[in-house]
């Protein structure tokens, strides 16, 4: 029985233990079921929500800018381009051989030993080389373990500050000012998108970048600017500023027949990137007089032969007194313009009704934006007649109470030069996409015919007289006939006229019989002599001479040949200008006293001209051969300046510092010959 009981006991215990094991197994299975259910809930039922949470914290989506498009000049020379640079980062812990890496980095990136050691410091997780390198370093560094290369795009202006005002700049991948801003949409292209994995501190994880959309490179904007002319203009203006101590200035070169801007340089308070040519209106003074006269002529209100009494030398109307420096009894309209008589022109303008005078100036484009393809253009000020004072007709006739921009002035002179048609300015000739397909082509656009060809021709003749023996003889060229008008006006800063500050300006075009260039020059507050004829006119001549020596394409050379002066050359410098080549019309001046132009009354400039006459002279390109200077190692700008100064034409090859010329330095060539300048090295 005892044995049976023992067996009973053992069986009972066995059942108990077995029951315990089953409970344990059941517990396990319950646990497994709980885990499974919870996992199912998280991963299947709530999966999308968790994925969204995860995505938000794992992934950073970045825009990849497309390579910004280029801006090129009329000949296709790059003025603004995007180049690829390489950013070099190093993970020192991954380097296989530090010493080897230091050697490679030093050799490739041109680093000092200390910098290379710092970059490979094993205590640091991640280092970035300071510079951005040419894509050439890829070859040496790609595949080196622990060295990471990243492509970066950099905006690059091969000509540096030259034409930067027109081009603008790029800040944070966005165009700021100039063409960069105006054509942002075209230049920027389509950004691509990439998605990068990031760790909990927001650092991108190397190698975990996925390109979602490829960026599309930006298009190309072709300007009408001619970089050779721009270079010459820049140089001419810079030199003028240095010489005259002026605060700033503008120099515009346009093609009167198309309205194309060939060069645009504005310097304001030492800022070479200013755009005062389009956004800073000024009171032009005498340079506006031709338009008053043109308006009178085209409306039949006067002829050039009409005589105006200017004997008093001053004339007071509505409380405003207009005066001439040099008093002459009376003169013809033509002479009044030629010698820039305030009294003569303002008296003649009395023939206008207020509406006619306003309409005339408005027709020449004053008071409205020209529509040039640059941001920030202003239209200037031209009040409507109902807001005029009694003085206004007089002031407007001689270029006061009106704000014009240099660009408006250059275009209005273009209308005088091209036979009476106001052209729309044209700075961009063509816009094409990255593949070269043209998206937009700008044709020259006529705004309106302002005056008849006959009137335009008459005025050209008078304005030629201004250069030949008027107030602007300093702009005279030996080889071609130049027409133009000087202006000296007081500076109004908004709070009234500033004592001792003047705008000296000269607008000219040449050759007179078939004008190809209009050159506008304005200097802000030159020190010392401030007359337009002595400060601005020589700049124009320098500009024109440079253009004649250097230009290859913009000027129509065969047309120029036709416009060359007769062999009967003008008297040499120093000798008072004789009206030998002035048109016959001027011989018939209805001038009772027979006043000779250079003794006649004139605006301020005439007296100054005499003072300066010793230094104003035509400098024809020297005839003999000139030896090519050695320009190797110089910057592009300096080299071109040297060669232009000697009368050579320059063909540019490459970018960057000059390597050499072809023909080589020392060769003797004739001015006007073309020299190929080879430049550049590593830069693509």
């Amino acid at each position: 029985m005892k044995k049976v009981k023992k067996v009973e006991m053992a069986k009972k215990r066995e059942r108990k233990l077995s029951c315990r094991r089953r409970i344990l197994l059941a517990t396990w299975l319950v646990g497994v079921a709980a885990v499974l259910a919870r996992a199912y809930q998280l991963q299947v039922l709530e999966g999308d929500e968790w994925r969204a949470v995860a995505l938000k914290q794992h992934i950073t989506s970045n825009e990849v800018p497309g390579a910004r498009g280029s801006i090129v000049d009329r000949d296709g020379v790059s003025l603004a381009m995007t180049r690829e640079r390489v950013k070099v980062s190093i993970a020192p812990g991954e380097l296989a051989d530090r010493d080897e890496a230091i050697r490679t980095l030093q050799a490739t990136l041109d680093l000092s030993g200390r910098d290379a050691r710092r970059l490979t410091d094993p205590d640091r997780r991640w280092t970035v080389a300071r510079g951005r390198y040419s894509p050439a370093v890829r070859e040496a560094l790609a595949g080196v373990r622990g060295v990471y290369l990243e492509r970066e795009l950099e905006r690059f202006y091969p000509y540096g500050a030259l034409a930067r005002g027109v081009l603008g700049t790029v800040l944070d991948d966005t165009g700021l000012g100039g063409i960069e801003q105006r054509y942002e949409e075209v230049l920027r292209g389509m950004p691509g998108r990439e998605v990068a994995a990031q760790d909990h501190q927001g650092r991108e994880i190397t190698g975990e970048v996925v390109r979602m959309a490829e960026p599309v490179a930006g298009g190309t904007v072709r300007l009408t600017l001619d970089m050779d002319l721009q270079e010459i203009a820049h140089q001419a203006l810079t030199e003028a500023l240095e010489k005259t101590g002026a605060r700033g200035g503008d120099l515009l070169v346009t093609d009167p027949s198309t309205g194309e801007l060939l060069a645009l340089v504005s310097v304001m308070d030492g800022q070479p990137a200013a755009l005062s040519a389009i956004n800073a209106p000024y009171e032009p003074g005498s340079t506006l007089k031709p338009f008053t006269v043109a308006g009178l002529l085209s409306r039949g209100l006067a002829t050039l032969e009409d005589s105006v009494v200017t004997a008093e030398g001053t004339w007071t109307v509505a409380g405003r007194t207009v005066s001439d420096v040099h008093v002459s009894p009376d003169m013809t309209m033509g002479d009044a313009l030629r010698v820039s008589s305030n009294v003569g022109v303002s008296k003649a303008a009395q023939a206008f009704s207020a509406g006619q005078q306003y309409e005339n100036l408005r027709d020449f484009g004053f008071g409205v934006e020209t529509g040039v393809e640059l941001p920030g253009e202003v239209g200037g000020t031209l009040l409507r007649p109902d807001r005029w004072s009694k003085q206004s007709p007089v002031s407007l006739a001689i270029g006061y109470e009106i704000g014009v921009t240099p660009l408006q002035m250059a275009l209005a002179y273009g209308a005088l030069a091209n036979g009476g048609v106001l052209m729309q300015p044209r700075l961009v000739s063509e816009v094409s996409d990255a593949g070269g397909a043209v998206l937009e082509r700008q044709r020259p656009k006529v705004v309106r015919r302002v005056i008849t060809e006959a009137v335009a021709r008459e005025l050209s003749t008078v304005l030629e007289g201004v250069v030949e023996d008027g107030t602007a003889t300093a702009a005279r060229l030996e080889t071609f006939r130049v027409a133009g008008k000087t202006g000296t006006s007081r500076v109004n800063t908004g709070g009234g006229y500033v004592a001792g500050r003047y705008y000296a300006s000269f607008v000219g075009f040449f050759p007179v019989d078939d004008p190809q260039l209009v050159v506008f020059v304005k200097l802000d507050s030159p020190e010392g002599t401030y007359y337009g004829g002595t400060t601005a006119a020589p700049v124009t001549r320098a500009m024109m001479e440079g253009a004649l020596a250097a230009r290859q394409t913009t000027l129509d050379r065969s047309a120029l040949v036709r416009s060359l002066r007769r062999p009967a050359r003008m008297p040499p410098l120093g000798v008072p200008n004789r009206p030998k080549s002035t048109p016959v019309r001027f011989a018939n001046l209805a001038s009772p006293t027979g006043t000779r132009p250079d003794h006649g009354p004139a605006e301020l400039e005439l007296s100054a001209r005499r003072a300066m006459s010793g230094s104003v002279a035509g400098q024809a390109p020297s005839e003999g051969r000139v030896s090519v200077p050695n320009v190797a190692g110089l910057s592009a700008r300096t080299a071109v300046r040297r060669l232009h100064a000697l009368g050579f034409r320059v063909r540019w090859e490459g970018i960057g510092a000059v390597m050499g010329t072809m023909p080589v330095a020392g060769s003797r060539l004739l001015p006007g010959d073309t020299i190929a300048v080879r430049a550049g090295s590593l830069i693509p």
């Binding site: 315990r20 094991r21 497994v32 919870r38 998280l42 991963q43 968790w50 995860a54 794992h58 094993p122």
Partner: protein, 402 residues
């Protein structure tokens, strides 16, 4: 040489109550273990690469260390599977005392030379170039010792004063040093493993209720601390967790949830990049869930369930009560840790640092787990009465099928 009979005699395939035949338990155990071990190494590579690189180490650094641990562990497994079970019964006390000695040694004030403080805790014994975590060893020691006591004192086991109380005193000697390391989760785990053996040995349910009641305030206090710590952690990293508390668990849920049914793919997980804390260790299950999805979770569950079911089967068929209780305790080492680890990762229980056996990084844990499996195989072999069942279909050379 008598005991070295490592070739199974050929016997007809019979279909006893299990249906498949003798000796397969050990095989299944071993295969499941090896599969888990390999899967663990692969997962660890993905999980620890970022961590290693952020410490300026090669990305395979932890995998190589772990693989070394696996090598040692497999040798230990083989040795354990060959040790007769009587050895453990005899060694229960010395083993426990040795473990207690080690545990006390590492928390003494003057022993930092052999027990350095790492991450604010002194859990490791560093001697003769070997790094050892005595609290891992304590898991086996407590199981062996409790199983032995349960057998020897089977008569007094139902009593509180003569059964439970002495047991608690000895457990306390193990638990207190572990708590002082401090390593709360391991202490809990050791207590749970001991209780598991007592439960399997038929301990009174009333005792368990009492034990549970005793544990409540302790657990509460500890959870308060750990949650506070979490809050501080989350506070420091506001950007990562604007909600404030439970940063780790939340990141674990993000990992699992974003894995979806099929996972984001091996090595494609993103949570390991600093989001998931201890991605290579305490939260490696979340990594698996992210990269392999529900599929990976099911895979792990199947493997661990296989181990647990086969382990319990080995226990049932054990030749004596000691080996039966031992087997339950040993399979508990694997099962309890696995379940707890997964529950933590899923946010079912408060976060504690429990390793996923055979997968998480940690060589002591790995070796101890493999040793447990080895001892289970030893139990299975003893049951089978067919020595050398590591590979049951072996035949002696020259012998032909009967």
């Amino acid at each position: 040489m008598k005991s070295r009979m490592d070739v199974a005699p050929i016997r007809p395939v019979t279909l006893p109550d299990t249906g498949i035949g003798y000796g397969w338990e050990a095989t299944v155990m071993l295969v499941a273990t090896l599969v888990l071990l390999c899967f663990g190494l692969v997962t660890l590579y993905s999980a620890s690469g970022f961590l290693a690189q952020s410490k300026n180490l090669p990305d395979w650094h932890y995998v190589v260390l772990q693989a070394g641990g696996a090598g040692i562990g497999l040798v230990v497994l083989w040795v354990c599977s060959r040790i007769p079970l009587g050895f453990w019964e005899d060694c229960a006390w010395p083993l426990l005392l040795a473990v207690i000695a080690m545990l006390v040694a590492i928390i003494l004030p003057g022993t930092t030379a052999i027990a350095p403080e790492i991450n604010g805790a002194r859990r490791w014994l560093v001697m003769w170039g070997v790094t050892l975590q005595p609290s891992e060893l304590a898991k086996i020691a407590i199981v062996v010792w409790t199983a032995r006591v349960a057998v020897r004192k089977a008569g007094q086991f139902q009593s509180f004063s003569r059964g439970l109380l002495p047991l608690l005193v000895v457990w306390g000697a193990v638990l207190f040093p572990v708590l002082l390391e401090p390593d709360f989760s391991t202490a809990c785990l050791i207590a749970v493993l001991g209780s598991l053996v007592v439960f399997a040995a038929g301990g009174r349910i009333g005792h368990f209720l009492l034990l549970g009641a005793l544990m409540v305030p302790v657990v509460q206090a500890q959870l308060g601390v750990s949650f506070r710590a979490n809050r501080i952690l989350a506070f420091r990293d506001l950007a990562a967790d604007p909600e404030g508390a439970g940063f780790q668990v939340r990141q674990s849920l993000v990992a699992l949830g974003s894995g979806g049914p099929y996972g984001v793919g091996f090595g494609e997980g993103r949570q390991k990049f600093g989001f998931l804390p201890e991605a290579h260790n305490d939260f490696i299950f979340a990594m698996v869930g992210e990269e392999w999805g529900l599929l990976g979770v099911v895979f792990l569950l199947i493997l661990y369930t296989t181990l647990v079911v086969v382990g319990l089967r080995i226990a049932r068929r054990a030749p004596d009560e000691f080996s039966q209780f031992l087997a339950v305790g040993l399979i508990g080492i694997v099962g309890v840790q696995a379940l707890l680890h997964m529950a933590v990762g899923l946010g079912l229980v408060p976060p504690t640092g429990v390793a996923l056996p055979l997968v998480s990084y940690g060589r002591s844990n790995q070796v101890v787990t493999l040793a447990s499996v080895g001892m289970l195989i030893a139990v299975a072999r003893a049951t089978d009465s067919t020595p050398g069942v590591l590979w049951p279909r072996w035949r002696r050379r020259g012998e032909s099928r009967a």
